[in-house]
């Protein structure tokens, strides 16, 4: 394959990955890494480096819209970014030592778990009752715009959420993904944020997490401009289109289809890792 052909194929594939990532809420990174490694035979460290770059682009692009609408909880985001960015640096360091096969197997397991998490039902947030002492001291409780007006919510279980965020950071740095599924789990299931606040705050945090690991990837030479260029431009455009298309499509059926697809990719990654083909 010539560079021109390869760039065109990667760009088209990344466009599709970004589109599906936005529709499913899982992000482009989890689709683009299997695409590059399984279909195009790209070495997994390069694939993760290029995916990280695309994750920063989509996160920052989408967050710029959400932040202005007042959904994200900036204090929760900033506080938990300590845990995710430390985790991300640890994960990126692990990636520099791990073999491609190990990364592929962990990646597959994370894909399977993400597929399951994306079908989870979401608990209703609490806005009454006594405040959580730690969350109150950290002034984390917030409010978000709804139809009748601002709706308040309480935040709880800060230490558990920090732990989950540390794990999300490690996975992000190790695999080159945004770890949106684990971040949303920490915010919505552990802390009790309303779902719309969880997804937008998670999106907002993903860019910072990915930037922390991208530093390590850059210095180790894992970010190849020739590969990162079509991946970043493709995923960014695809996810913008996906976000536009989302309101017009049936969410539940789509999520089922997508969860099945992600699970199949996960099994394929594990099989390839175990047989030593990655």
């Amino acid at each position: 394959m010539t560079i021109l052909e390869f760039t065109a194929v990667v760009w088209l594939g990344s466009l599709a990955a970004g589109f599906l990532g936005a529709l499913s809420g899982l992000g482009g990174g989890v689709v683009v890494v299997p695409l590059l490694t399984l279909l195009l035979g790209v070495e997994i460290h390069y694939a993760a480096g290029a995916a990280l770059v695309s994750v920063i682009a989509t996160s920052s692009g989408a967050a710029s819209a959400y932040v202005r609408e007042g959904y994200s909880n900036l204090r929760v985001g900033m506080l938990l970014e300590i845990a995710t960015s430390l985790g991300a640096v640890v994960g990126a360091k692990l990636a520099t030592r791990a073999s491609g096969a190990v990364i592929a197997v962990v990646f597959g397991a994370v894909l399977l778990a993400s597929a399951g998490l994306s079908l989870r039902r979401h608990a209703e947030p609490i806005d009454v009752g006594p405040p959580d002492p730690l969350a109150a001291r950290l002034r984390l409780d917030g409010a978000y715009p709804t139809h009748p007006g601002l709706r308040r919510y309480r935040v709880r279980r800060v230490p558990l959420a920090s732990l989950l965020m540390g794990l999300a950071g490690v996975l992000s740095g190790l695999l080159g993904i945004g770890s949106g599924a684990v971040k949303v789990l920490a915010l919505d299931a552990a802390m009790g944020l309303p779902f719309v606040v969880s997804t937008t705050t998670s999106n907002f945090m993903i860019g910072v997490t990915a930037a922390a690991s991208a530093g390590v990837y850059l210095h180790r030479g894992y970010i190849d401009p020739g590969l990162a260029m079509p991946v970043m431009l493709g995923v960014l455009l695809g996810s913008l289109a996906g976000a536009r298309a989302l309101p017009h499509l049936g969410a539940r059926a789509l999520r089922l289809v997508f969860a099945g697809l992600v699970a199949a990719l996960g099994i394929e990654m594990i099989a390839n890792g175990l047989s030593g083909r990655i």
């Binding site: 010539t2 760039t7 682009a57 202005r68 900033m78 910072v208 390590v216 030479g221 260029m229």
Partner: protein, 126 residues
């Protein structure tokens, strides 16, 4: 504290900052990509084995020097550096905004996050 720095205004400014950073980065990456493909598009490709990038593509100074010489790969890498700098600028901006609001706790939190990001980007992490 300047009365104008309400949470809402901070959020609007952060939104603008993120969008500008991403647009600038995408424009640089696309321009560098065009240069790269015009010059090297017909060459053969190999991403199957990991070799690590040329040392000058791994440091900020090396990338800047190459980009000034209009080397396609360096212009792309410069765009990627702008992209990486966007979340860093966001954290720095939040830190200043928290400080202006006299919110010492969260200015400190943002400073800690900023320190982690900068030491990772500077290659100073052990």
């Amino acid at each position: 504290m300047p009365r104008g720095w309400s949470d809402h205004r901070v959020e609007e400014a952060i939104g603008r900052l993120l969008r500008t950073g991403v647009l600038l980065a995408a424009a640089l990456v696309a321009a560098g990509g065009a240069l790269y493909l015009i010059r090297h598009g017909a060459e053969l490709v190999d991403y199957r084995a990991f070799r690590g990038e040329r040392a000058d593509l791994r440091s900020v100074r090396g990338v800047l020097e190459g980009a000034l010489g209009l080397q396609g790969r360096d212009v792309i890498q410069l765009g990627l550096l702008v992209l990486l700098a966007t979340p860093v600028a966001r954290v720095a901006f939040s830190m200043v905004a928290f400080a202006l609001q006299r919110d010492r706790l969260y200015a400190g939190v943002a400073l800690l996050v900023l320190a982690i990001l900068l030491s990772s980007l500077a290659g100073a992490m052990p």
